[in-house]
Symmetry: C2
Subunit: 238 residues, 2 copies
């Protein structure tokens, strides 16, 4: 946590350390948000909401470090990729933190609702997201291009799980209109998890780029969160 | 569209031109997506989905240009802010393009559903989003810090409109379960519009930073899209 970074090498190391710390915090935030949801634990949800603040601060620190390296040094080739990549990863982690916070916020709202809806499915989705985020952070630390590709490929599993959750939610709502408010919030929580997975995939692309110097070619397995489930129109009430 | 950019000045100008072009395309994409939704126009929706491709290409061009400026020049002070800011704006516009595409994708799905739900409210939300995006792009071109602050402040209007739409949707769903699938897609469309507004606010912060050299201090008027509506638990079925 030193403020006088002396050498170029040290600046890059510090940037790296900030990202690793941010990644670890994001993992803990997701885990806490899901535990709060599962246990209907208001205090843990509130703690998770507050827990996003340091992630935002680290994102600002990473951005400042990167800008300083750009301004005072002239990073080239691998170092340039590292610094540009760090900016992207930092921004992805900052957003992942926001999504974890948002899950916790909706969890608080859900405390006033009947516990109805596909909670178990959401927890399964959450587990997969945690596995993917951990794997991509490991790949970042090891500069492991192959590991990054593995994560990138598994985006599809996430999409499939999300699509089936989406259908399940519609069914819950149609069958029992009293569940609608809870289910809508759970749907947005599922969406938040899918977005986290999408950002893990983005990080995988960046890790691949840092490690190999090449872009991860070809279309993303699927459009990730930004696309609606392909055939949900057949899902619930028609 | 020249590929041999000769001087530093020209590189910065080209970067600027790419952003302005991207911004214009985003405006047209949002407008087309909303028109397709309003007219239930499958062909226009499909065109809008395809229309996102050049925005992604421009984002890549802007990133490459910025990286080249970082690598080959040593931008300082105002120029450094411009280049770092351009990276952020480009990434925000790329995401805005994704949200417009996503609206068009959900519009296609909605063609198989009864036209029920708060479509008029969504079109109003869309109009406000378009106004804010236009204003922030104008502020960018003019390097107008005060104009950026204006946009930034209006994020709150957007949040209020979104919150009332959220409640309205729940009511539609509770009253007529056959509307649930359509309403859920409309809710996600509303969310996409709110996200676009949130990115317009992010761009406003960046424009302010480019123009003034200072961060836009203080908390965002409201947490933007990433927060759930504050009191939706009181909204629909309880």
């Amino acid at each position: 946590m030193e403020h006088t970074v002396k050498s170029y090498e040290q600046q890059l190391k510090r940037l790296d350390a900030v990202l690793v710390e941010m990644g670890g915090l994001c993992e803990r935030q997701i885990s806490a948000a899901l535990e709060a949801l599962s246990r209907r634990d208001r205090m843990l949800a509130e703690q998770t909401i507050a827990g996003d603040v340091p992630i935002d601060a680290m994102d600002r620190e990473a951005t400042e470090l990167a800008v300083r390296v750009f301004a005072l040094r002239q990073p080239l080739a691998a170092d340039l990729r590292t610094v540009v990549g760090a900016l992207r990863i930092s921004s992805a982690l900052e957003r992942i933190g926001d999504y974890a916070r948002n899950i916790a916020k909706r969890t608080v709202i859900l405390l006033d609702q009947p516990m109805a809806g596909p909670v178990q499915g959401i927890l399964r989705l959450g587990q997969l997201v945690q596995v993917l985020l951990k794997a991509v952070l490991d790949a970042y630390v090891a500069r492991d291009a192959a590991g990054a590709v593995e994560v990138w490929k598994r985006d599809r599993e996430l999409d499939d799980l999300y699509t089936s959750l989406f259908r399940e939610s519609l069914t819950y709502m149609v069958e029992e209109p009293r569940n609608i408010t809870a289910c809508v919030h759970l749907l947005f929580i599922a969406k938040n998890l899918e977005r986290i997975g999408d950002h893990a995939t983005n990080i995988a692309e960046t890790v691949y780029f840092i490690a190999s110097g090449k872009p991860l070619a070809g279309e993303r397995p699927k459009g990730g969160d930004r696309s609606p489930p392909p055939d949900t129109s057949a899902g619930g009430a028609a």
